[in-house]
Symmetry: C2
Subunit: 338 residues, 2 copies
């Protein structure tokens, strides 16, 4: 394979807010050679996710920051080209933190899992059947703890995680209300992801819309945004409500910490709970989530959408586009044929 | 008893922030007469507590607001003068929401409990062996869920609830750090309530003091204040930390909601939890708490302090004094001999 070039997207400088194209550069390297126990993988789909802003930030986070002048950390799904590990064979599809690049050499510990379900495209391994779906599954079920008849509100409701949360809540017989931005996403929420109601925060008064769609208050808020959307939702919490903090996409920078209305009173009066959630804490239970998600997708109970950019040259600007909300569905970059 | 006068402290006007003396007036009424099934009680100690600010506010709360021109709601301990209920006898001491007044007529449902432990003063029924102790017990154990070796930080650490929280945490083998205001309270925290460390928020940099006293971070924060103290504490949370929101004493008014640093990031990065807590939700388990607290006080494992004002004329200004932090220990008003 060494006649090929390995194009890598490297972190060139550290953004203070949302990473833009200019914070990355594309470098050409020779394709690495696997040796004993190693596996050469050709990446096909690269993932783009909101969490990447945190990964390239120098501010304290749950993950080590990506070092400058190294390949951007990213989940990817690829195909094995050469293998010197008996557990893996050329031609198999696998996922892992393979980075924004064409090729990578890893040992078996660098592979998350083989992609085995043949009825669904391999790209789903980065979305609904990947960390996005798993995040929705554990965040909603373990932290949100829905019971039938409860009202569940989701921010970034049409996003890769949010759309899955809404549909799992529906499977669990909850009323679901999605908050999203723009008419296309509102339509997606209603027609594809089957929310009972969808609110366009860009044109509606959130307070009025929440009163109208959640007349009995909100029992679970699955929060992917933080910020003003959350401020409005918290005013409608029921007694015993649970707020699952999964992301803070609406906050451009945490340095310095932005101000917002204090939450203590909402939580005290309603005996409500706000809890941060990281999917990595559930690593030893991923299989359970994947089994359930696969069954639900196969049964037509969970629908998904993908937004596939073509070519690695799209990667540097792809995070900023995500924060502008330009994607409809899980954002991926396809850099090779299947 | 009708030759006596029943002096009542009534709510005259609704404060926007902390209730001051001028929001109340003292009225003289004839002592009420009990009839069949009723009990006449002579109050001895009246309770003063931070929660009273909420009870007289018109802003949404966990309790119905006290109506204008009615007796101020308050817990009290008193002695039965006449009883037309076979379950109660003259001379017995009882507690209940008897209000800021000398006498009250109730039926059996208006009595919380008989005060039976003869080894401790009856005033403890309003503090360490009353709602304050019970609040500390369930808030710390059920919401905070301490395990041995964890670091527990308490705000209003010398207060009626806080002092009890710190000592229960110590019984549960936690490291305890109290935050309080002024040298006398710091001394109380160290010498009487046996905190491992006490911080004077009025003169110390909270950030530095917390770094010094909690070098391994904070696992549980029992929050009686909210505001800037909480802002500092949240910066030191450990992964999996629990924040028990029990009171918001440092916030003068919630109308409009004051601003503060947003908390989402702390909670997300640390997978931490903030949860509001109201003792009334544990009403059916009060006996369990009282049994444990009585045992600990009797065994010398929990110490308490009382700040006893004399005469009902002290009542109107007593809440404001509490918010100024002028009391050392549980604030009570004694209006009759025992």
């Amino acid at each position: 394979m060494n006649q090929h070039i390995n194009r890598q997207v490297r972190l060139k400088s550290r953004p203070t807010g949302i990473p833009q194209a200019e914070h990355f550069e594309i470098i050409e390297e020779p394709v690495p050679c696997p040796t004993d126990g190693q596996i050469l993988i050709r990446n096909i789909f690269l993932s783009v996710e909101p969490a990447m802003r945190g990964w390239v930030s120098s501010v304290a986070n749950y993950a080590e920051p990506v070092s400058l002048n190294t390949v951007m950390r990213a989940l990817a799904v690829g195909q094995i080209v050469e293998s010197y590990d008996p557990g893996f064979k050329p031609g198999e599809y696998v996922t892992g933190l393979f980075g924004w690049q064409n090729y990578i050499v890893v040992d078996a510990s660098g592979i998350q899992r083989k992609v085995s379900n043949n009825s669904l495209p391999i790209s789903t391994a980065l979305g609904v059947l990947g960390l996005n779906g798993i995040t929705a599954y554990f965040g909603l079920l373990e932290v949100g703890m829905p019971t039938p008849g409860e009202t569940v509100v989701v921010s970034s409701a049409a996003g890769a995680v949010g759309s899955c949360v809404g549909q799992i809540a529906r499977i669990k017989q909850c009323r679901t209300v999605g908050i999203t931005g723009g008419p296309e996403k509102v339509r997606l929420c209603r027609d594809v992801f089957q929310y009972d109601h969808a609110i366009d925060y860009r044109i509606e008064s959130l307070d009025e819309a929440l009163s109208a769609t959640c007349p009995e208050g909100i029992d679970i808020y699955f929060d992917n945004t933080g910020g003003k959307i959350s401020d409005a939702v918290l005013r409608h919490l029921n007694i015993g409500a649970r707020v699952v903090i999964c992301g803070t996409a609406s906050i451009d920078s945490w340095e310095p910490t932005p101000l917002g209305p204090r939450v203590e009173r909402h939580l005290l009066v309603n005996r409500a709970r706000m809890q941060g959630f990281l999917v990595f804490d559930y690593q030893n239970r991923y299989t359970e989530a994947l089994d359930a998600l696969t069954e639900w997708v196969d049964a037509g109970l969970i629908h998904y959408r993908e937004d596939i950019l073509k070519g690695i040259q799209q990667a540097p600007g792809s995070i900023a586009g995500l924060y502008r909300g330009e994607n409809l569905g899980k954002r991926l970059i396809q850099i090779a044929g299947i």
